[in-house]
Symmetry: C2
Subunit: 321 residues, 2 copies
């Protein structure tokens, strides 16, 4: 099994074929970045259409049993996830509704502050707000996992404390291995581990050490070093792979509708464009190289299972088993 905590972009039929070729059992998608409730309903409806059109290749998973079904039937499972909380529209009763629609993962903030808390890119992180604390309570109650990947340090630590279920950083790396706003301090990693949570490690070049982009063994080494920080049971895969993400899509992710200024997200002014894919992963189907690399790094088959799928399954089970 191979579970990926986050991908984004345009999941065309070819992508499901590549994901199947890469051995992916289940992938959390990005239903929306900036959408409000109506945009999000439309985007969920698009995914239901997509499931009907590709039912031989993929299925939407609503619980852990569905992920096992995807595995057994050789389909790519998709967990519906959001990289922002705009679909809640500031309403405490909407996590229940979006959970009923199958949404299983929601990131508290994307790249800017909202009514829930602060983003990793905000100069000053507010921490979790009163509304944010209540929203997490609802997400816990109705089976929607909290994601803090783009969330600020203080808000992330508050969320770990506030959540009665283990939370995830679905797509980031250890800041001590690759310093970046988007990556997480050892303080966060340890708090996440202590609370039973998980971090999915990314391959997105802007936030991933060069060695981990250059070879699958380098990426396995990064995973091993993250295990040294967090422990074996708290590390997983969260590639942040983006399908058909070109400049317009990147501009949308970064600028959305919130600014008239140029924003570079995880990039920078002198590297504003979408970076080329990691050398070892020209397309997502090459992800199948990972288990062998982890084996070469010295992990047992049981440990490899935890790192590539088992840890996600444990956290999913706790949230929406």
């Amino acid at each position: 099994m191979l579970i990926d905590g986050l991908q984004c972009g345009d999941f065309r039929r070819e992508i499901f074929e590549s994901l199947r070729a890469g051995g992916f059992t289940c992938v959390t998608n990005t239903v929306e970045f900036w959408g409000g409730a109506i945009n999000s309903l439309d985007a969920i409806a698009d995914w239901l259409d997509k499931e009907r059109a590709n039912s031989d290749l993929m299925m939407i998973c609503r619980n852990v049993a569905d992920i096992h079904t995807a595995d057994k039937t050789g389909k790519v499972g998709v967990l519906l996830g959001f990289q922002n909380s705009g679909m809640f529209e500031g309403r405490i009763r909407y996590p229940e509704l979006f959970a009923q629609l199958g949404v299983r993962v929601a990131q508290l903030t994307y790249n800017i502050q909202n009514d829930i808390g602060g983003s990793c890119y905000e100069p000053h992180d507010s921490g979790l707000t009163r509304f944010g604390r209540e929203i997490i309570g609802e997400m816990n109650k109705y089976g929607m996992m909290v994601d803090c990947s783009h969330v600020g340090e203080k808000t992330t630590l508050d969320a770990i404390e506030a959540s009665s279920k283990p939370i995830a950083v679905t797509h980031a790396n250890a800041g001590s291995l690759m310093p970046h706003f988007r990556n997480k301090s050892d303080t966060v990693l340890k708090a996440l581990a202590e609370s039973g949570g998980i971090m999915g490690l990314a391959i997105y070049p802007n936030i991933t050490p060069k060695e981990a982009c250059d070879s699958v063994d380098g990426w396995a080494e990064m995973m091993a070093r993250t295990v040294d920080i967090m422990g074996l049971e708290h590390v997983g895969v969260g590639t942040d792979a983006g399908h058909y993400v070109g400049t317009p899509e990147l501009d949308w992710m970064r600028q959305g509708r919130w600014t008239r200024s140029d924003q570079y997200g995880a990039g920078a002014k002198d590297r504003a464009l979408m970076p080329p894919p990691p050398k070892w992963l020209p397309d997502i189907s090459k992800m199948g190289l990972l288990p062998a690399a982890l084996e070469r790094r010295g992990f047992s088959q049981e440990e490899i299972h935890l790192l590539t799928a088992g840890n996600w399954l444990r956290v999913y089970e706790a949230n929406f088993g």
Copy 2:
């Protein structure tokens, strides 16, 4: 002339009659507390209907010349104002659109944090966000005055600094005279005055000293003491009078859609209900008692004009003259 920086509630025809009897030249209403863009469009459309239905009594003012027209024709002018920024829906381009629709005042946050900044009730005030800074730029550009009445201290100070136009605290009191989350520190009052801004003093009993609720002379005394802090040119009237505000309306203001918990706003658990009106102001038409009280307190006619109207006109002129 008498200009009131903020009122709220249900402006029925009788209210316009009372406002006219009270000598009000112009009142900023509360188009919305919690609405998003569509709710806000509907609420603005309701006000256009209201203007047609009461055209003998009131008119919507879009600029300072309109306020003078209201004065000359004996109508109550209404400035369209919002106590929150939900109508922007996180979009940098919406201040321009809502300004075209006649909106002249917008409070950056109501009682909870949003994408712009922190509220006075939030345990931790984020300060003005990157989006907040850009939104203020747009408001400045398109003639919408920034209101920081319910906004947190840090965000208010940041907004004063960020705005190229003088800003307002439309309805609050000096915290040094009446300690309360909703009232403003001398630091804020002085920064506001230095930047050419204004604070409208409230009569809402939860945030107003007892003596200022008990008699119009007590209220004039509070105004005089606020002038001592801020200077004569930076104090105005901002009653925060609420028309037909009962328990359901108060619950809506306080709880909105953001919480399942009880919230008391400017009240408290043991005084959760709408407080009775100030003794000297059983209805808004008694506001006409104010100029004489200010005269008794020793203000000249010219000074009284500044305090009851002129200071607002100066700030309005700077924002949307």
